[in-house]
């Protein structure tokens, strides 16, 4: 079984649009949306949820006010500024470490279970899908990503699927690390802007750090041809294969508005044709 993660470093370069199209072209891959704090893949693939799982990422401190004598020791020792002046827990700031409960001289603090989101297993027209939604204001997105990936692996074994396609989150921090560690290939979608190039380079460093094979594709490549050449040059110097150059086409947004992937909405468009090429190169790289 192979795993492919779509990344970008910079947000909004077209990860989800591309992932959804690859899902259609791959036929029977297992899909995983690992952008758990702002997942969008479901809006193009329309999954039907068959199983929902509570996600308990961390604990939450609870102060029993009948026992608390307001000494403020917990506030002093909390490294996350999660105890307010009124000696109450700020649930947004609390990271569930348990230090306050351990040091409270009045034994007034307990650590309680906290549901930080939900993981889903779903069926789509194109294959099974593992996805999730972090509840607003909750942390631990990296852990939830790991749960989504675990679900995807179980699905692929059950369904005898030989590929997992993972839509990664933007950035290079913990949820991205959780999305890319241990996969076979990572396709980075970039755009020919100064930010796109900068973020691509950091994403590629991360991919290298985790010994994953990188591929690059340039979205809206003609918006700045000089920068496209820079990206091509940089990739060549570093022996990284550029598997596609996707043109700008308003049909992509139109397809999104209609809740469809571009390869289905406009299969004859230049964008759809180029995504087919990208898919062929991805397959060859496994």
């Amino acid at each position: 079984m192979k795993q492919l993660t779509i990344l970008s470093g910079k947000g909004g370069t077209g990860k989800t649009t591309l992932t959804a199209s690859l899902a259609v072209l791959a036929r029977n891959a297992v899909l995983a949306d690992c952008d758990v704090d702002a997942p969008d893949l479901h809006m193009l693939l329309h999954p039907e949820v068959i199983k929902t799982q509570e996600f308990k990422g961390s604990k939450l401190a609870l102060i029993d006010k009948t026992k608390c004598d307001n000494c403020g020791f917990c506030r002093e020792k909390c490294r996350f500024d999660a105890i307010t002046e009124a000696v109450e827990v700020d649930p947004v700031a609390c990271e569930g470490c348990g230090v306050c409960a351990a040091i409270c001289p009045s034994d007034a603090i307990t650590m309680t279970e906290r549901v930080s989101g939900y993981a889903y297993i779903s069926k789509t027209k194109y294959g099974f899908m593992a996805h999730a939604l972090l509840s607003p204001g909750e942390s631990n997105s990296g852990k939830l990503v790991s749960l989504v990936r675990q679900n995807a692996r179980i699905l692929s074994e059950k369904e005898n699927s030989n590929l997992i396609i993972i839509d990664g989150p933007p950035g290079i921090g913990c949820p991205v690390i959780a999305s890319v560690s241990g996969v076979d290939v990572s396709l980075v979608v970039t755009e020919p802007t100064m930010s796109g190039i900068h973020d691509l380079q950091r994403a590629l460093q991360l991919i290298k750090h985790f010994n994953v094979k990188p591929l690059v594709c340039i979205n809206m490549y003609e918006i700045n041809k000089d920068n496209t050449h820079k990206i091509l040059g940089f990739c060549e110097e570093n022996s990284i294969k550029v598997v596609g150059r996707i043109p700008f086409n308003p049909k992509v947004t139109e397809a999104m508005v209609n809740g469809k992937t571009i390869v289905e909405y406009s299969p004859e468009s230049d964008v759809a044709k180029e995504i087919e090429n990208i898919w062929k190169s991805c397959k060859d790289s496994f």
Partner: protein
Amino acid sequence: MIMSVASGKGGTGKTSVAVNMALSISNVQLLDCDVEEPNAHLLLNPKIHNTEPVYVLVPHINEELCSHCGECAKFCQYNALFSSPEKILFFPELCHSCGGCTLACPMQVITEEKRRIGALKFGAVGDLKLVYGELDVGEPMAVPLIKAVKNQIENNKNVIIDAPVGTSCPVIETVRETDFCVLVTEPTPFGLHDLKITVEVLRKMKVPFGAVVNRAGIGDNKVYKYCKEENIPILLEIPYQRKIAELYSKGVPFSLEMPEWKEKFQALFSEIKRLVEE
């Protein structure tokens, strides 16, 4: 006044809005809290006059005195410590620096030491001050570095903070205790969906906010409908224009080349100020 600029969906134009506004008003300190992928400096080309490493505290275990009782590993909620009868293993990337292991150790053989996770960079363009954080590649935890950037806030300045993308911990840490949050969105289904999630987060955090619709003209009208229903003020609309996209691609803030926008960003700032003072 301290304002943050955020968006659930990436690539909607947060950095563009933050930078163009910063260039259109005076007495500004711009903080880039997108420490995973900081970009504001690419549009500003500041002179960087200082770089400071940022550290977190992690346990240092004196193995000679350690009895391998495993209390530290039992206490750690983040699985950063693993104890076997012969050995104790520490995984620094998982550590949240809570200090709990030092308290849990009955032998008191755990002390804390500094570990680098990234750097703060200080720069300036004219009288505009820029501070940004840059997370070392491979480091998972952005929050301590974001805190370090926010510790640089100068209260007598008009502080504009460029937030990271998404709605999880790095975003929460960034917008926390800011006077106002500008939500940049685009009129597409993805833009609207991620806007709704961000709105929920901000309401939970009780940070006042308004929306900027970027790339107006693409997509559909549902973002406007949603904002109207939810009483979210639309503070500014930036139309989709090839020229703006091309300037951005070259790293040029568009208000510098299209001076009519300078006034619009000034008006945006005044409107936010008015809303905060209200």
